[in-house]
């Protein structure tokens, strides 16, 4: 009996491992609006890179997709789930920014326009291949046959009505040089991309903290009813914006103080996490990463030219 169970388990595990099925479960968050919530984890061969929130809006003209996920497989499975659930065709895609977990599913959508801010399109052209290589290393075979497929259209800031939904593209920056926020005025849903994280530590490989903090203020002023962060649970209030702001302010202050006191990188990486953020997923890991990204410029500002000697 035990042997049989073991065999069943083994067969089961193999089947799961080889099927590369992402557990995609679109959740309705507002009228005509669904979110496929990813895990608040780092990339791994177990989660296949399903660590990001993607969404879609079902309009009378067809479905508008926000972000395509981490891989060809993700994009294909996302599109299949959307078309099965809605019975409608996808008519356009928006990419919020140029990080790999948000756009590497694009190759499934080459028959529809894919919109992104110009800075995002440039970022994908410059860094897409490097990102893709990194993803293959981190999530392995989930990435099979994934090719970098840059967005095809410039997203322009402003309002446009698509199939009865008044959609506003807001062009911002801070998390990256091009952060597209999509605000559906018809439903009050705000897709913030990675400008907002919810109970998952913010990431900073291309961040400008001062700019990001200003951007968060403008997001908080928007009259949204539902907030879809790039990572973490969907919310109906400004709490995730406040949490992201508080964390980034703490990060900025910590790094600046450390540089002013002559600390080395590792000493900063070992900074204790304040109680307010200890429950935030991956916070220690992201602090270490952020020190690598942001500290070199800050510490150099606290060095003085030495006097050349004989």
């Amino acid at each position: 009996m035990k042997r049989w169970l073991l065999m069943l388990l083994l067969v089961n595990a193999t089947a799961v491992a080889e099927s590369f099925e992402y557990p995609l479960q679109p959740q309705p968050v507002a009228t005509d609006t669904y979110v496929i919530e990813g895990k608040t984890e780092d990339f791994s061969k177990q989660n296949g890179g399903f660590i990001v929130n993607t969404g879609f809006i079902v309009t009378t003209a067809g479905v508008v997709v926000i972000d395509t996920g981490v891989s060809r497989r993700f994009g294909e499975q996302q599109r299949a789930v959307i078309e099965k659930l809605t019975g409608k065709k996808v008519v356009r895609v928006y990419i919020t920014h140029h990080h790999p977990d948000h756009f590497l599913g694009n190759q499934t959508y080459t028959d529809v326009p894919i919109y992104a801010l110009p800075a995002t399109r440039d970022g994908i052209k410059a860094e897409g291949e490097m990102f893709s290589g990194n993803m293959y290393r981190m999530v392995g075979d989930w990435m099979r046959d994934t090719r970098v497929t840059p967005p095809t259209q410039d997203a322009k800031a402003g309002k446009e009505t698509v199939g009865g939904h008044e959609l506003e593209v807001i062009a911002l920056q801070g998390h990256t040089a091009g952060d597209l926020v999509l605000f559906d005025h018809t439903t009050g849903v705000l897709f913030s991309g990675d400008l907002v994280f919810n109970n998952r530590a913010a990431t900073t490989p291309h961040a400008t903290l001062a700019m990001w903090l200003t951007t968060l203020d403008s997001l908080q002023a928007l009259p949204f009813k539902t907030l879809v962060p790039g990572h973490g649970n969907v919310a109906s209030d400004t709490a995730p914006i406040q949490q992201t702001r508080a964390y980034l302010q703490w990060l900025q202050t910590t790094l600046e103080d450390a540089a002013a006191h002559g600390l080395d990188m590792l000493e900063v990486m070992q900074t204790p996490i304040p109680a307010d953020f200890q429950h935030v997923a991956l916070v220690q890991h992201e602090l270490r990463r952020s020190v690598s990204h942001l500290y070199p410029a800050l510490e150099q500002a606290h060095l003085k030219p030495a006097k050349p000697a004989e």
Partner: protein
């Protein structure tokens, strides 16, 4: 199981040689490292000697490393090496009158143990280390300075600062240098070879030998006791001199 058996036989055979401690990092290169960097001399893995590093390298060109030694007297030499780097030798550090603490950044080509071996006056090497995971490519890329072509304008320039602390003053030094490894196609090895830190009276506080894996524009942090004024002297493998005075 079979492996275990073989290991036992091997141990019986080698028992007469040095009673080798098993490598806590289980590296296939440990014996080669022992021969090359410790001259095959007696050693012990010692928790008084630590290498601090992040578990994973966010930037393979700039992996932060800090060496810390507590309660170890008579330090002659500290050697830093990364077993699985194509260029394993990272640096030598000889603190003369200051604390045996040093922080710097290095290039890693792949995940590897990073170790420091500290030789004390009794001839014993005290070894500490940690494993750093890395995406790779840190050693085979040209430096940014060489790629952009503007390294020659700033070569050898030093920026620095001193922070006065109650227990130990902190000296931070940045020397502009490409630190090319010689592993990028068509770009020869070009790196700082040595750097001495002296006090205001010219007494040597510490000597450093730097090798190819040290990151471009090396950034060093030292704990320098009560000293506040320093002179730096060094040279690279092309004979370019480094000479600077640091005041608070």
């Amino acid at each position: 199981m079979i492996r275990h058996g073989r290991w036992l036989v091997f141990c019986l055979l080698c028992q007469t040689a040095v009673a080798a401690e098993p490598d806590p990092l289980n590296s296939p290169q440990w014996e080669a490292m022992h021969t090359r960097f410790l001259n095959g001399e007696p050693y012990t893995f010692d928790s008084k000697v630590t290498v601090e590093a992040p578990p994973e390298a966010e930037d393979s060109l700039n992996v932060p490393i800090a060496l810390r030694v507590t309660d170890l007297q008579g330090i002659q030499e500290m050697r830093v090496f990364a077993d699985l780097n194509p260029l394993p030798h990272v640096l030598n550090f000889r603190p003369k009158t200051i604390a045996p603490n040093l922080a710097f950044r290095m290039k890693l080509q792949q995940g590897s143990p990073v170790r420091v071996a500290v030789k004390t006056a009794d001839g014993l090497w005290h070894v500490g280390g940690t494993y750093v995971e890395a995406a790779g490519g840190g050693c085979t890329l040209p430096s940014l300075g060489t790629s952009s072509g503007d390294w020659s304008k700033t070569l050898g320039q030093v920026s620095a600062n001193v922070w006065e602390n109650p227990d130990n003053n902190r000296l931070r030094i940045r020397v502009m240098h490409p630190m090319d490894t010689g592993l990028a196609s068509g770009i020869p090895t070009f790196h700082i070879e040595n750097l001495n830190v002296k006090d205001a009276q010219g007494q040597v506080l510490a000597e450093l030998d730097l090798y190819e894996p040290i990151s471009e524009n090396p950034m060093l942090s030292l704990d320098v006791g009560k000293n506040t004024t320093f002179t730096l002297e060094g040279r690279d493998n092309n004979g370019n001199k480094i000479a600077a005075e640091v005041t608070p």
